[in-house]
Subunit: 335 residues, 2 copies
């Protein structure tokens, strides 16, 4: 039986093995991705990102439990982990971080730590999400640590992106907020029992106002903003203002409300036609990634190794610039 048949039959071991194949980008995984592709497009992909120390892992854990208990949905978690292989970070992560969720067949947790080439992580994460989608998982949660370019790229794979903050994370937080506000559909202040939660919320609100002038509407609602009045009930156009949700993941507080907020966002995407637009963006980005990887791989195959090495040495000796070298390599190839 092929991987794709086994996965469509609900074989968890085959699923686990195929995910490893995808990480290693094997010919088997490429074949399976082609075969499984017609079965994709049904899952709701949720991205969860934010700075370290915000308690994202606990939050994702609780959110998955909520979906299992309250809605009987099947949930896959992809924890994108910058750990290195020598400490076994990714494997350890699977076991330690999501302890509560073990033994539930409706939940599948996978850490991934693919490094290597630029774009490699985003590509393998996109492919893993596709496999979970074909395998019939209703929700796919992609969790990323950090707030760098790769996290933003991974977030682009999601239909709904949660940006998690926590009170009192220091002076760099402003810079990060500014960058990730653009990708946030829902802002979460986790550890909402910590000192400084009011200040964090105030700062987020000010930044939201800058980004979405319509956010002022919510200014006088106070707590109502937290509960996020469904935007589709507003008289104006279907504009989505990222709501701010407070949670205390370690105590399971605010999780049900967060799940509701996510459901409202999904409904908004469907009603406004944004779901289709995001699907298009997602797929375009995926295609772009695949094209880039294929271009460089084909280029490498056609390249005589000693020619490349010779040029590299010339660059190091400052005889030729990298820009000129690229021209030589690419134009030379065409002759």
């Amino acid at each position: 039986m092929t991987y794709s048949q086994a996965i469509l039959n609900g074989d968890r071991l085959a699923l686990s093995r195929l995910l490893t194949q995808v990480e290693n980008d094997t010919p088997e995984s490429r074949m399976a991705l082609i075969e499984l592709f017609p079965h994709t497009g049904k899952a709701h992909i949720i991205g969860v990102t934010g700075a370290p120390g915000t308690g994202k892992s606990s939050l994702v854990n609780q959110l998955a439990l909520q979906y299992r208990k309250a809605e009987k949905k099947r949930v896959a978690i992809i924890a994108v982990d910058p750990s290195s292989p020598f400490t076994g970070g990714a494997v350890l992560g699977d076991r330690v971080r999501m302890r509560d969720l073990y033994g539930d067949v409706g939940i599948f947790i996978r850490s991934t730590a693919t490094r290597g080439s630029l774009g490699g992580l985003a590509k393998s994460t996109a492919n893993m999400a596709q496999i979970f989608d074909a395998a019939g998982f209703d929700l796919i949660i992609i969790e990323t640590v950090g707030a760098g370019q790769s996290e933003v790229d991974v977030a682009r794979l999601a239909h709904t992106t949660l940006v998690v903050e926590a009170p009192g994370l220091g002076d760099d937080i402003q810079a990060i907020k500014a960058g990730i506000l653009e990708i946030a559909d829902i802002l979460v202040i986790n550890k909402a029992d910590h000192i400084g939660v009011e200040m964090t919320e105030k700062a987020l609100k000010s930044m939201l106002e800058l980004a979405h002038p319509a956010a002022r509407i919510f200014q006088h609602h106070g707590a109502a903003m937290q509960a996020a009045a469904p935007p589709q009930k507003l008289p104006a156009a279907p504009l989505w203002i990222p709501p701010i949700q407070r949670t205390i993941a370690t105590e399971g507080k605010g999780i049900a409300e967060l799940a509701e907020s996510i459901a409202r966002h999904a409904a908004h995407l469907t009603h406004s036609g944004d779901w289709a637009a995001r699907e298009r963006t997602r797929i375009e980005m995926e295609l772009d990634l695949l094209i880039r990887e294929e271009l460089i791989s084909r280029f490498r195959q056609t390249l005589p190794q000693n020619h490349y090495e010779k040029l590299l040495t010339q660059i190091i000796q400052r005889e030729i610039s990298p820009g000129e070298t690229v021209k030589l390599l690419l134009d030379g190839r065409r002759k």
Copy 2:
């Protein structure tokens, strides 16, 4: 006068303008990079990375001041900022974060927030570093927020990479440490007056032992490890064990010791032949980035737009997989 002539003459305004051109990847900047390339290869490039909330900006600020005051060196700072343009993050960053350094012509501070394509940030940062190098700056400090793939890529541009930690940054920190230990040449525990500093140092030491079994040698030295005995005086091979340096950047404490540690690392690189090896890696990575960007740009130019759009629609309708599409696009082109 061309940009490159002006820059070799020490024109700061031209330098500033060229950096903007580099961010926008203009033809002028490509020309200048080619012209300036023979003048590069002299600067010591220092990467500073780590989690948000560790006080990296203050540390970089203090380090630059140290180099100016104690060693009269010219220092350039590239603050790689994930801020978005609508909040003016990068511009604001220039003004607010490095207040102490203004008015000193031996210091040039530049924030950069280039987003867009994968690899775009690493490419433009590499190019900016080259321009500072040609302009005669002795030290180029590249500061990155976060610990994602892009930060690791930027760190690869550096001769010496500092990974900054701070006590008590929460549960995600272990995962991050594991990932960045591989790229760290020097570990800095900033905010060393905060509670939990001993625990942070203990955790870092354990991880170092895992990564570098030779680090055990230093275990019995206690405080001596902090001061990092010069590895070149050890009887064994010239192996570099990342020293752990404590700092309190806001009070300027530990900065001189950190600068010494950086100097020792530079000496180690030279003596062991690693400097040349890193130069080669740096240049190879840069070349790889440029080749990727050029390949995709040339591919786009040869692509009939409606063909691409048609295939994209077919993917969205699940008639063809992204993998098959790439084959069609690339093989079709060759016929």
